[in-house]
């Protein structure tokens, strides 16, 4: 079943077309990688799905419902979580508070006014703390975390949301090789139970995690298929990978 479907989606800034007639279908439980050179429209595509930018044409369907033009928080509540390209965490709050803010189905201010409990006892909280390796940093202010830890914290926050669809914009940017490997393990363990769309440049990481890869170029679909197919695709080599192939 298609969880997410983009139909003939387009985005223009004035006269400049960023995305033009882009189609994408992502099935439940799938991990889809979005590739493309700089300016191909990958991040814009995520902005359009999550409502951060308004589409100039086309439609977005999530779980069979048209979510085109809804505001960000409404789309999030439908079950779409988002990790940003530049890691965004609450720098002045502690790590545990960061996760606490992300947690919970109640998002209205009045229901939260009388809510004092911590989710520390909740199973998922423990799992995520373990998964992201932040156990001994819980009372640290998030602004003091290393870059890799900040990335993991944000991934942890998105997981804490318990979203059906996770949009991950460059989750391994700035990570060491070891950290990248750890992240790929996290992602592989999410496959099946979660649906993910990952924008990434690191090919070894993509090889590690991807089922199907979608390649974008100049706001359009260039190729789509499993990694073996993409690596040998002539068009992809020309615009993105260079003639020497994938490193």
């Amino acid at each position: 079943m298609a969880l997410l479907e983009l139909r003939n989606v387009g985005k223009k800034y004035g006269d400049f077309t960023v995305i033009d007639g882009f189609n994408l279908t992502v099935n439940k439980g799938e991990l889809r990688c979005l590739l493309g050179p700089n300016g191909a429209g990958k991040t814009t595509c995520m902005d359009l799905i999550s409502g951060r930018q308004k589409l100039t044409k086309g439609q977005v369907f999530f779980q069979g419902e048209d979510i085109t033009g809804e505001s960000e928080h409404v789309i999030v509540r439908r079950g779409i979580g988002r990790k940003f390209q530049v890691p965004a965490v609450f720098k002045e709050l502690t790590v545990s508070d960061n996760l606490e803010v992300a947690f919970g189905k109640k998002k209205g201010p009045f229901s939260n006014m009388l809510h004092f409990g911590r989710s520390a006892g909740v199973k998922r909280y423990k799992e995520i703390v373990e998964l992201t390796n932040l156990g001994d940093r819980m009372n640290t202010v998030a602004g003091l975390l290393s870059h890799g830890e900040t990335q993991w914290l944000e991934i942890g926050m998105v997981l804490m949301q318990d979203a059906n669809l996770l949009l991950m914009d460059e989750p391994t940017a700035g990570m060491t090789e070891k950290e990248t490997y750890k992240t790929s393990q996290i992602f592989n363990s999410l496959k099946g139970s979660h649906t993910l769309i990952v924008v990434e440049h690191d090919m070894s990481f993509v090889r590690e995690i991807a089922d199907i890869i979608t390649v974008m170029h100049m706001g359009k679909l260039l190729a789509e298929g499993p990694i073996s197919e993409i690596e040998t695709n002539r068009l992809v080599r020309e615009v993105y990978l260079g003639t020497e192939g994938i490193h």
């Binding site: 999550s50 951060r52 960000e72 928080h73 999030v76 509540r77 979580g81 988002r82 940003f84 965004a88 965490v89 609450f90 720098k91 002045e92 709050l93 508070d97 960061n98 606490e100 803010v101 992300a102 919970g104 109640k106 998002k107 209205g108 201010p109 939260n112 006014m113 009388l114 809510h115 004092f116 009372n139 640290t140 202010v141 602004g143 003091l144 926050m157 949301q161």
Partner: protein, 364 residues
């Protein structure tokens, strides 16, 4: 890292209750009506600082218009007190209106014949206005310095209006009700202990209420919005909704301060709508520590105390002195005086935390 005593919630509540209990005992130790009135005034100013701490320290919304709720509530209270003095049969029109050639009571004043209605309007109107301003600003995602500019401009507009509508507001002269506020048949002497205790009760209740709220998940979300509104939005929170509620609440606290102010000074004029009062309130909160409600209270008492006991010759240059205090705090104590308390209780690790945060802030 272990949680310090400063961050321990039970210790915090104990400290808050101790401070309010001590404050309430002031009339038992000082028999001087002047001193009691003076400290009552500081208490009212502390309330205004709490409203700033809530909206700016916790919510990251730098409002330079807190004096708007304060001043409007002040006028509401003065109108209520004035109408308590007027007699519907023999003397229905306040004397300043007669001298301004107004020979009927304006409709704006009519509801104030009734004290309960008057008190209700005193608090409800400024709160509603803050809600309206909040909805307009935060729906449009106005943030940062633009909030400061807008609130400042709105305040300036209301100041001019209060100043210009002389027949209705007595203009520059202001309204001075001939008798103190009267409730349940008692006159509340502005220099007496009951007036003082009412102010302390208002401050204690509002501060504890605000603190309670900031410890709930609502407070946590508000602080997360301060750090990164976009991130909070993408965790499913309607950011504008939270901001409007916080702003409205701060308006209500500032309005309560305005009500108490006129009760203890028995006078209101456009000075309470002046920009300098609102900006001073921001300075008090910053000096004491805007990230803590108690810090804001401390700042208000301290700065106002310094101003009162500084000597007449220095009063002329008070704003310059206040400016230097502000610069000093921003440079050396980014978390305000309460930050020093935090350091003492937190040990070394948290001290470096605070320093790094200050650096992060400067870079950002």
């Amino acid at each position: 890292m272990k949680q310090s005593l400063y961050q321990n919630r039970k210790a915090q509540w104990a400290a808050y209750l101790a401070v309010f209990a001590l404050l309430a005992m002031v009339p038992l130790y000082f028999d001087n009506p002047f001193v009691i009135n003076q400290i009552a005034r500081y208490t009212v100013m502390a309330m205004l600082a709490v409203s700033v701490s809530l909206v700016w320290g916790y919510g990251g919304i730098l409002s330079l218009g807190q004096g708007l709720a304060f001043g409007l509530a002040g006028y509401g209270m003065a109108m209520t007190m004035q109408m308590q003095y007027q007699n519907p049969e023999t003397d229905p029109i306040p004397s300043f209106m007669l001298t301004n050639e107004l020979d009927y009571l304006p409709w704006l004043w009519e509801p104030f014949w009734s004290t309960p209605v008057g008190l209700f309007l005193t608090l409800a109107v400024p709160t509603a206005i803050f809600m309206g301003i909040g909805i307009l600003m935060f729906q449009a995602r106005v943030a940062g310095v633009f909030v400061a500019i807008m609130t400042l401009a709105i305040l300036a507009a209301w100041y001019s209006m209060a100043y210009d509508m002389q027949p209705y507001t007595a203009g520059f002269n202001g309204i001075s009700p001939p008798l103190p506020f009267q409730i349940f048949g008692y006159l509340i002497d502005p220099y007496g202990a009951p007036a003082f205790w009412i102010c302390v009760a208002f401050l204690a209740l509002l501060t504890c209420g605000a603190k309670f709220l900031m410890q709930s998940k609502f407070g946590l979300v508000v602080q997360s919005i301060r750090d990164d509104a976009e991130r909070a939005r993408f965790l499913g929170y309607n950011v504008a909704y939270y901001q409007v509620l916080l702003f409205t609440l701060s308006g209500f606290i500032a309005a309560s301060a305005g009500l108490c102010w006129v009760m203890v000074v028995q006078y209101v004029s456009p000075t309470s709508l002046e920009l300098s009062l609102s900006i001073s309130a921001v300075v008090w909160a910053a000096v004491g520590g805007r990230l803590s409600l108690m810090g804001a209270i401390l700042g208000a008492f301290l700065v106002n105390g310094i101003q009162s006991y500084m000597g007449d010759e220095l009063q002329q240059i008070w704003m310059i002195i206040l400016g230097f205090i502000f610069i000093g705090v921003v440079l050396f104590l980014p978390r305000g005086l309460i930050g020093v308390v935090e350091k003492i209780f937190s040990g070394k690790a948290a001290t470096t935390d605070a320093k790094v945060i200050a650096q992060v802030r400067e870079v950002a």
